[in-house]
C-alpha cells in the first residue's frame, strides 16, 4: 500500500467563495455563527436520515431508533466539524469536507447497532453459506466441490489465527467489517489490512494448486 500524503501537498489551498464564507461565519462567535450552525446541522441531519434509512434495514434498525441514530450522528458530526475547523485546508469544498463527517458517523453508529441483534453469529462457522456467497450454482457442485475444499484447507493452513478469525467472521458469517472492528477493539483500516493479506495468501494458494489463474495484478 502506498501513501497519498504527497498528493495532498501538491493541492493548492485556495478556497472557493462559498467555502470561504462558511469559514468566515463559523470562526467568530455571534448570531451569524449560530445561524450558520443551525443551517449546517439541518444539512447534516438530512444526509444522516437518508443514509440511516438506506442502510438501517440491512442492520435491522428501524423506526424511532433509526431516527435517534440519525440525530445523534448529525449532532456528533457538527461537534467534530466545529472542533476541527482549523484543519480544513481547502482541498475540497467546505460542505463536502463537512458531509464526510456525518457519513462516517452513520457508518460507525450502525456498526455498533449490529451487535444488538439477537442472531449474530461469531463463534459458529457456517461454511454452507460460501457457495451462495460466491455464486456457485448447486447444479455445478461436482465442479466446485474440490475448489471449496481447497479454499477451506487454505484458510486453515495458510492464514494466521487472527487472519482466519477475521476471514471467517466477515466472509463465512457475514459480519460487517465495521462491526467486527468494533468487536475486536480494532479499526476499519486494521481489519481491512488483515483481510487484504488473507485474500492475497488464499489466492496464491489456490493459484498454486491450479484452481485460479496465476496473475494477481488486481488492476482493472
Amino acid at each position: 500500500m502506498i501513501p497519498v500524503n504527497r498528493v495532498v501537498d501538491e493541492i493548492p489551498a485556495r478556497l472557493d467563495p462559498e467555502s470561504a464564507e462558511w469559514i468566515r461565519v463559523l470562526a467568530v462567535a455571534g448570531p451569524q455563527r449560530e445561524a450558520a450552525l443551525a443551517r449546517l446541522h439541518g444539512m447534516l441531519l438530512r444526509i444522516a436520515q437518508r443514509e440511516a434509512r438506506r442502510r438501517g434495514p440491512r442492520m435491522l434498525v428501524a423506526g424511532p431508533e433509526l431516527e435517534d441514530l440519525a440525530y445523534q450522528a448529525a449532532a456528533d458530526a457538527l461537534m467534530a466539524i466545529t472542533g476541527k475547523l482549523g484543519q480544513f485546508r481547502g482541498e475540497s469544498r467546505f460542505t463536502t469536507w463537512a458531509y464526510r463527517f456525518v457519513i462516517l458517523e452513520v457508518s460507525a453508529k450502525l456498526g455498533r447497532h449490529f451487535w444488538r441483534r439477537p442472531d449474530v453469529p461469531l463463534e459458529a462457522e457456517d461454511w454452507d453459506r460460501l457457495p451462495g456467497r460466491f455464486g456457485f450454482e448447486p447444479a455445478r457442485e461436482s465442479e466446485w466441490r474440490d475448489l471449496l475444499a481447497a479454499l477451506r484447507r487454505a484458510v486453515d493452513t495458510e492464514l494466521t489465527a487472527r487472519q482466519r478469525e477475521v476471514f471467517v467472521a466477515i466472509v463465512v458469517n457475514g459480519v460487517p467489517l465495521d462491526a467486527l472492528a468494533l468487536r475486536l477493539g480494532s479499526s476499519r483500516n486494521a481489519v481491512y489490512k488483515m483481510m487484504f493479506d488473507a485474500r492475497r495468501k488464499l489466492r496464491a494458494a489456490l493459484a498454486a494448486n491450479g484452481y485460479l489463474d496465476d496473475d494477481d495484478s488486481g488492476r482493472s
Partner: protein
C-alpha cells in the same frame, strides 16, 4: 480465464490499494473531483483501487457523492 469470477474478484488484491485510513482521509477531495467530472481514478489510483475492493469505504464514497450531487440539485 477462471470459471469462478466472483471468488476470483474477491481474492484479487491491488498493490496500489492505499487502505481505509488513507482513502477516508482524502475522501472529500476524491468526491469533489468525481462530482466535477475530473478523472479521479487517474489522479488517485490507490484510492480508486481501495474503493473498488473495500465494501464499507465504497459505501461511504457512494453516500458522500450522493450527498454532494443532491445538494447541487
Amino acid at each position: 480465464m477462471n470459471g469462478w469470477p466472483a471468488l476470483d474478484r474477491f481474492l484479487r488484491t491491488d498493490p496500489r490499494d492505499v487502505g481505509c485510513a488513507e482513502a477516508m482521509e482524502m475522501l472529500h477531495v476524491y468526491v469533489d473531483l468525481v462530482a466535477a467530472g475530473g478523472d479521479a481514478e487517474e489522479r488517485y489510483p490507490g484510492i480508486a483501487a481501495h474503493l473498488r475492493a473495500c465494501g464499507p469505504c465504497g459505501e461511504d464514497f457512494a453516500a458522500l457523492l450522493a450527498a454532494v450531487r443532491d445538494a447541487e440539485g
